[in-house]
Assembly symmetry: C2
Homo-oligomer: 362 residues x 2
């Protein structure tokens, strides 16, 4: 299927005129204009829940940089928030739930959500942003993986040892599977609603999959991501809807991730694109994977490291440039400009130009 966008084309492993680039957390704290909106909104959740504000900050980085995709401003914890678990974000502390999950009973009492009711604010933000983008670049919708959302729901906050969910996993695997099933079903509805609202690409963030042993990862995390990949809408209005999976420290899981039927895998910077390709071949596109700390360096060094990542991927189709992790809040936006420019200029080969691909996009 044809797409005019180089981001979509790369995800489908089709030829592109140059490597597309976007940045995890591109709408975020490193931008002074974001900090201003965030300050006025007072609460982080107010930003997520006010479609006008979510739309506004989603568009901010696009004013500065010629990025190849937008990603809707939201959070992976919108679902447990809609479960009425008392979510809040204390300054500099991360999320906290007033009423975390403690037992099978708590799980049985979780409501069934209608995304166009309890999470309508997300769809409204997507519709509004799509309207503003006018088809210039694709919009990414996203969600947390069932395992990652469950981790927060059980721990009640960020954890170092993940004692609570692991205790639960070892002691009550059946109850945990029940929670993960409920989350998967909810996520399928949620993702489909995002696609109906206009999301062009879906990304699943499995932030905490990497804390599991390989066997537990397969059983409690990847298994449910596969369920989602297999059941969500993959074509809409005659267009393909690519899905990207992201897990940190995924070297060991890559092969299994590629087997889920996803279109692309997001990689952190600890694995080289070369190694990743040698592990999984050409079945899926790869997204990543510059060390986000490279943006602390000087422009020359940033260009050199961008060149290294591009070279590691090689010249075949199927690469989306990104950082290996969300951009750090204390990065100078000027460094981002250097990176984006370097990706586009260094990946634009005379050969590609001669082929005349996507010439209208330049």
């Amino acid at each position: 299927m044809y797409s005019e966008h180089r981001f979509i084309r790369a995800l489908l492993r089709q030829p592109v005129d140059r490597t597309p680039v976007w940045i995890m957390r591109q709408a975020g704290r490193y931008l002074p204009e974001y900090r201003e909106v965030r300050k006025a909104a007072k609460e982080f959740l107010t930003l997520c829940k006010t479609p006008e504000l979510a739309c506004q900050v989603t568009l901010q980085p696009l004013e500065r940089f010629p990025l190849d995709a937008a990603i809707i401003f939201s959070d992976i914890l919108t679902i447990p928030d809609a479960f009425q678990m008392g979510l809040s974000f204390a300054e500099g502390e991360g999320p906290r739930f007033e009423r975390p999950i403690r037992s099978l009973e708590d799980i049985e009492q979780l409501p069934t959500l209608d995304p166009e009711v309890e999470l309508k604010y997300v769809m409204d933000a997507i519709r509004m942003t799509k309207h503003e983008l006018q088809g210039r670049i694709p919009l990414i919708g996203f969600a947390g993986s069932p395992w990652t959302i469950a981790t927060y729901m059980l721990e009640g906050q960020t954890s170092k040892t993940f004692a609570k969910i692991k205790k639960f996993m070892y002691a009550e695997p059946v109850a945990l599977h029940r929670l993960l099933t409920h989350l998967s079903n909810t996520l399928i509805q949620y993702i489909n609603a995002q696609i109906m609202a206009g999301a062009d690409v879906i990304m699943l963030f499995d932030t905490w999959g990497g804390i599991l042993s390989l066997a537990d990862y397969m059983t409690f995390s990847l298994n449910y991501m596969e369920e989602i990949v297999k059941k969500v809408i993959r074509q809409h209005n005659g267009k393909p809807i690519p899905i990207i999976l992201f897990t940190k420290n995924s070297a060991q899981y890559l092969n299994s991730m590629a087997n889920t039927g996803c279109d692309a895998i997001g990689l952190d910077w600890t694995i080289s694109l070369e190694s990743a390709r040698s592990l999984i071949g050409d079945r899926v596109a790869l997204q990543g994977n510059l060390d986000p700390a490279v943006l602390y360096a000087e422009p020359d060094c940033i260009r050199r490291e961008v060149a290294r990542v591009l070279k590691q991927f090689g010249t075949g189709p199927g690469h989306v440039f990104n950082l290996g992790h969300g951009i750090y809040p204390d990065i100078d936006p000027e460094k981002v400009a250097v990176m984006v420019e370097a990706v586009h200029s260094l990946s634009r080969s005379p050969k590609r130009d001669a082929a005349g691909l996507d010439r209208d996009e330049r």
Copy 2:
């Protein structure tokens, strides 16, 4: 070369009567008797620097559990502390340096240490502990890797993004190499002094190697560990001194780690022993790798997970059982007893008994 200890024999990939087991941080906060000594000492560093106390807490877990090795109570930051960088440990906050490294000049001013002077307290603790152990089980000496120690010296404290050392790495690689060289040279002297004082085995902890890309890991971390492995004493008093390397999230590096000439590799729990063996074959012994969170589970589950780890390794020689990370401070010591008992009883096969190996050790 022959050793009567199953721990040493396993590290040398020789047959054993049952799988040896010890626990990272076995002398630590999960033990009430440790917390008592720690409280009386007031400062964490006082514990490290008072040989009688270090010896006392080193021996504590051996009173409770039939462990196959002791590890000297110390810290990976003894070296930068001896550099007079103003190390302190604030309660629940981790290490902090008053005068972190900021420039090449700071690096050039670092002193050359004589381990038997500035770090004599470590050797005294080893000598004292060896005397108390009377050869019953081997004593492990240890150190941080050059990269990991450099990380603390530059960051000045625990970090999430490692901005300072990465900025330095990208901007001033020559200066960083100079620091790593000085640390390697210091570590070689330090490790040799530990061996002369009686350490039977050496373990190098590369806690922060896993934050690097593969290429940077090879250049800035493994390269220097290899230097150390190649240059330290490997035999003493007619006995082999095995060396164990430990890096978190090491799946990608395993092959290169095995090529350094080390005897064993410590694995966290995110890789299965089976995958590790298929990646590196039988060149080195493997140490690990139960998820430390399994000790939150009930005894039946602990036994089941121990059995899983033993089964994943298989029946060949060269396995030392351990957790994949230091034991968490809120673990019930009774759970450790269950784990140690399970390792010994489940790995004791009739075939091994018939062979009569190490019968005197039972």
